[in-house]
Structure formats: structure tokens, C-alpha cells
């Protein structure tokens, strides 16, 4: 396989991978953030303490996290078909990717929010702040650096998941690696795929770290 043969496959694979990862990351963010916040608020001693909701959400998150992604991918085929109309192709893959990543991200959000000093919450309560105010003006901004780290980690996990999705009818670098690298023993192509994946992950990590550093410069300790 020459470079001119590999090049279009790699660029198409990269575009598909980025497409899947980007959209599933957005859906994960939209779904996981509220779940993570809900886990903290409904916990014992939380602002919206509610054992039933907390246990239920916690159970769903744990079930989602305990299923290997490969199994989830196959188990979700009817659901994906219901939503997208097909279970093949990059768009269809967004559904299992997001569902697989939401519980993971929700736990990371939960940890990040929990780190916010309770004294700050109390201070805003004493000012007459409502719970939405506390979430918007205290919990989220104070946890922002940790939340950005959580997004970075989640995006990298999604890149990994997306390669698996490639094996089950998705497109992207994973699917290309299986088709050419594994089934046709094109070692050169396999190496090229690995290099591209490493490059993508590195860029994502550097970007995430850069943002965190920028946020941290404003003032580190929350005393």
C-alpha cells in the first residue's frame, strides 16, 4: 500500500472519527453535566437531599459504567435504529458513544463539584441565593478547571470507544484499521493509523491542559 493509497483512507477515517467524537462529546456534556450535578445535590446533606432520586440516578450510572462498551454497542442496536433509522455509519454511532460516555462523565462531574468548598455554598445561601443561583454562580465556575479536565478525559475515552464502534458498522479510523490493517495485513497502514490516533489524543490533551492552566492562573486556592 503506497502513501497515495493510504492518504485518502486516513483522512476520511480521521474526519469520520472526529465527527463521531465531537457530536457524541456534545451529547455527553449535555447529558452528563446535569446528572453529575443532580448526584451531588440529591446526596445526603446536599441542597436537594433526596435519597430516592440519588439512589436511582446512581444505579443507572453504575449500570452504564459496568457494561463493557462493546456489549453496550450491540445491546443498543434496536435503540439506535429507533432514533437514527439505522445502526450503521458515523451518525448512528453517536447514540451508543454518548450513552456509553454519559455515566463516566457524570461521575467525573460529581467528583469535580464535590470538591467545591461548602463554605462558598453557605456564603451564597446567606446572601439569599437560590439553588439554581448556587449551581450557576458557585458550583460550576468554581469547579470549572476540574470540569475541563473531565471533558478532556471523556473526549479521549470517546476516541477509544469510536475505534471499537468502527468494528461494529461505524466508520472512522477504527473501521479502517480493522479492514486494512487487520483483515489485509497492511502493517504500514496499521502503523499510520496508530500515529494519527496518537496525534489526535495528544492534541486533545494539550488543548485541555492549556485551558485548565489558563483558568488556574486566575487564582488557585479557594480560601
Amino acid at each position: 500500500m503506497t502513501w497515495s493509497e493510504m492518504q485518502p483512507l486516513l483522512s476520511q477515517g480521521t474526519i469520520d472519527t472526529l465527527y463521531m467524537v465531537l457530536w457524541s462529546a456534545l451529547v455527553t456534556l449535555a447529558g452528563g453535566l446535569p446528572l453529575g450535578i443532580l448526584l451531588v445535590l440529591t446526596d445526603k446533606g446536599g441542597l436537594l437531599q433526596n435519597a430516592v432520586v440519588n439512589k436511582a440516578v446512581g444505579a443507572i450510572v453504575n449500570i452504564g459504567r459496568s457494561l463493557p462498551f462493546m456489549i453496550l454497542l450491540i445491546a443498543l442496536i434496536p435503540f439506535t435504529t429507533l432514533i437514527v433509522g439505522t445502526f450503521i455509519g458515523p451518525t448512528a454511532m453517536i447514540v451508543p458513544l454518548a450513552i456509553g460516555a454519559i455515566p463516566f462523565f457524570a461521575r467525573l462531574v460529581e467528583t469535580a463539584i464535590r470538591e467545591v468548598d461548602h463554605g462558598l455554598v453557605e456564603a451564597v445561601q446567606a446572601m439569599g441565593g437560590s439553588i439554581p443561583t448556587i449551581v450557576r454562580k458557585v458550583l460550576l465556575p468554581q469547579a470549572l478547571p476540574s470540569l475541563v479536565s473531565a471533558v478532556t478525559t471523556t473526549v479521549i475515552v470517546l476516541i477509544g470507544y469510536s475505534a471499537m464502534a468502527g468494528a461494529v458498522g461505524g466508520e472512522g479510523l477504527g473501521s479502517k484499521a480493522v479492514t486494512y490493517g487487520f483483515q489485509r495485513f497492511e502493517n504500514g497502514f496499521m502503523i499510520a493509523t496508530v500515529v494519527v490516533l496518537i496525534a489526535i489524543v495528544t492534541v486533545v490533551q494539550l488543548l485541555g491542559d492549556g485551558v485548565v492552566r489558563l483558568l488556574a492562573r486566575r487564582g488557585r486556592t479557594a480560601t
Binding site: L47, G119, A126, G128, I131, K137, P141, G219
Partner: protein, 365 residues
């Protein structure tokens, strides 16, 4: 200084731990507190006495188990309703009660100015007006040049000034101070107390503060209460407390020690207040009755701009022999209190554990 602006009646807070059923901790045990308008009221006590629960019950950060809290004529306990969440009315009432904290509780993600703007955002004040007011408040606490800094760039004292500016944003009538100076060094403590005093005078702000430092009470409080095991055991203006025979607060504010040098002697605790403190009473006493007076212990200080002192003196002879000189002291407008032999030894040491038997406390300097 007449109408109470903060009143609690029968305030009780019982913590129940979920793990061990039936184990209850009574943090507040029927506390009646009256803080008058425009005064600085200090609640002192050791840790675990319930001070923190008390101040947190005043703005209902902590829900009292029983009893009522009235702030500025509004019954907050009635506003609170039953749920755990603070309803709209309670939140509005809270926004007119300022609060400062031991650990400042500033948002590290916001600049100093934005921290002060936060309560104004909650009140729904528009952008420009908010900024104007925040800068005005920062100017008031002497931090106008730090508006754009982040809290991490400030010293402890500066952080507390921001905390105070923030607490004042809603134009509160009442300021609650939860150990506001306990994390600060002595010099910074003095400057923060001075600021609180100034605000109290300039704005007519009523301040309720809790502290474990007697020095704080001495420096700025008009009135004080002593808490022990969830109860208020003594309460009154500083003057009243000093005038109360056997007052523990007076004894802790102005600790005097020393025991009789031998049997057949009378030990007296003399309290000087205001003008009497400047009179040469002791030498008059010695000259008039031709008696030798030993000073066993003394403490002098200025409280709320008034010279106040306590002194433990020893007169020769039993009480019966000294009725006339004691009468003389009382005539001069001094509080004179006989210290029983039992009191001078073990008991005095027990009530003032931190005190050494050294006759003159450093306050006397």
C-alpha cells in the same frame, strides 16, 4: 439602643446522627437572645458551646429544632416553612442580613469586585449600578485599588475586608460575624475589629459576632453573652456584666488572681468603671484608714472607649474589721466584692483555667 433587632426565644437545636439511632447532640438548649439596634453584641464560649449553631440559626442556615428567630421585626422561623429548601421570602430576608465568615468564603474564580457584586446580582441590581456600588463598598473597606485582583492575591486581612464589603452589599441592618478574626494574626485582627467598629458607628449597623477570643469582646463589644453547653449563662452590657458580683464574663474579661497571704485577711475584688478608674482611690483608702493594702492582681483596659479595671486587693484583718473601708470604696462608686477564701484558691483557678497565679496580668501594662 432600645428596640431589639435580633431576638431569639427558646432557640433549640438538636442534631440527630443518622448512623447511631437515638444519639442526640443538643447544640442549643433554649437560647433567649436580645440584640439591640446599633450595638455590637459578642457571644463568647469555648468550642462546642453552641456559638456557631446559634449564629447560623439566626439567618436560618441551620434550621432550629424549636424556638423562634426574629430579625428586624420579621419572624424568620415563620418564613422558613417546613421544607429543607429556603423559600423566596426567607431568601429575601437573608439578603438583608450580612454575614462574614472565619475562612472568608470568597469565590476564587471571581475578582474582588465581582465577589462584592455577587449579592447584588442575586438581588437583581443592574450591571452599571452594581459596579458602582461594589467600588463604593471596596472604597469603604479601604480596598479600592484591589478591585481587579483575585482573592488568591490578597492577604488574610484583605480577604476579610472583601468579605465585609460583600456582606454590606445588600444594605443590611444586621451583620453576623462567624469568628471573622479567628484566622487572622493579632494585628490584622485589630484592624478588622476597628473596621467593624467604624461601620457600626457610621452606618448604625448592628453586629452580632461570635468568638472564642475575649480580646474581641474587650475591643469592640457593647454587650456580651457567655455560652456554655448550648445555654447562655450570662448576658448583658459590658458595664452591667462588670457590675455583676461573681460574673464569669467579667472575670474572664479582666482576670485577676492571687490568694490571701495568710489567715485573718480580707480579699476584695474591686471593679473600676469610667470616671472612678482615674481616681487615686487605693491611696486614699490607705491614707484615710491607715491600712496597708496589698495588690494581689490587677487588669486594666479600655472597653468601648471607657477605662475599666479590676483589681484584687488584700486588707489586713477579717471582714468584720474592714466593713468601713469597704463601705468607703463603694461610696467612691466602685464595685467591691468579697472573695471567699475558698474562691481565691481552687475555685478561681477552676473558672479561669488559662490563668497563671502571677499577680499582675500583662493587660495591666
Amino acid at each position: 439602643m432600645e428596640t431589639p433587632v435580633i431576638t431569639t426565644t427558646g432557640l433549640t437545636k438538636i442534631y440527630r446522627s443518622a448512623q447511631s439511632r437515638g444519639r442526640e447532640v443538643t447544640a442549643l438548649d433554649g437560647v433567649d437572645l436580645h440584640v439591640r439596634e446599633g450595638e455590637v453584641f459578642g457571644v463568647v464560649g469555648q468550642s462546642g458551646a453552641g456559638k456557631s449553631s446559634l449564629i447560623r440559626c439566626v439567618n436560618l442556615l441551620e434550621r432550629p429544632t424549636a424556638g423562634t428567630v426574629t430579625v428586624d421585626g420579621q419572624d424568620l422561623t415563620a418564613l422558613a416553612g417546613r421544607g429543607r429548601r429556603a423559600g423566596k421570602e426567607l431568601r429575601r430576608a437573608r439578603s438583608s442580613i450580612g454575614m462574614v465568615f472565619q475562612h472568608f468564603n470568597l469565590l476564587s474564580s471571581r475578582t474582588v469586585r465581582d465577589n462584592v457584586e455577587l449579592p447584588l446580582e442575586i438581588l437583581g441590581v443592574a450591571g452599571q449600578e452594581r459596579t458602582r456600588r461594589a467600588l463604593e463598598l471596596l472604597d469603604l473597606v479601604g480596598l479600592a485599588d484591589k478591585a481587579k485582583a483575585y482573592p488568591a492575591q490578597l492577604s488574610g486581612g484583605q480577604k476579610q475586608r472583601v468579605g465585609i464589603a460583600r456582606a454590606l452589599a445588600g444594605n443590611p441592618k444586621v451583620l453576623l460575624s462567624d469568628e471573622a478574626t479567628s484566622a487572622l494574626d493579632p494585628e490584622t485582627t485589630r484592624s478588622i475589629l476597628q473596621l467593624l467598629r467604624d461601620l457600626n458607628r457610621q452606618l448604625g449597623l448592628t453586629v452580632l459576632l461570635i468568638t472564642h477570643e475575649m480580646e474581641v469582646v474587650k475591643t469592640i463589644c457593647d454587650s456580651a453573652a457567655l455560652m456554655r453547653k448550648g445555654r447562655i449563662v450570662e448576658s448583658g452590657t459590658v458595664g452591667e456584666l462588670l457590675a455583676t458580683p461573681g460574673s464569669q464574663l467579667a472575670q474572664e474579661l479582666f482576670p485577676v488572681g492571687g490568694t490571701a497571704s495568710g489567715p485573718g485577711r480580707t480579699v476584695l475584688d474591686v471593679t473600676f468603671l469610667g470616671a472612678a478608674a482615674t481616681q487615686p482611690v487605693i491611696s486614699q483608702l490607705a491614707r484615710t484608714y491607715n491600712i496597708d493594702i496589698s495588690i494581689l492582681g490587677a487588669a486594666m483596659d479600655t472597653v468601648g472607649g471607657r477605662q475599666i479595671g479590676r483589681m484584687r486587693i488584700e486588707l489586713p484583718g477579717a471582714y468584720e474589721d474592714n466593713v468601713v473601708p469597704i463601705g468607703f470604696l463603694r461610696e467612691q462608686g466602685l464595685q467591691a466584692e468579697i472573695v471567699d477564701d475558698a474562691d481565691t484558691g481552687a475555685d478561681a483557678a477552676a473558672t479561669v483555667p488559662a490563668q497563671s497565679p502571677a499577680p499582675v496580668k500583662e493587660d495591666a501594662k
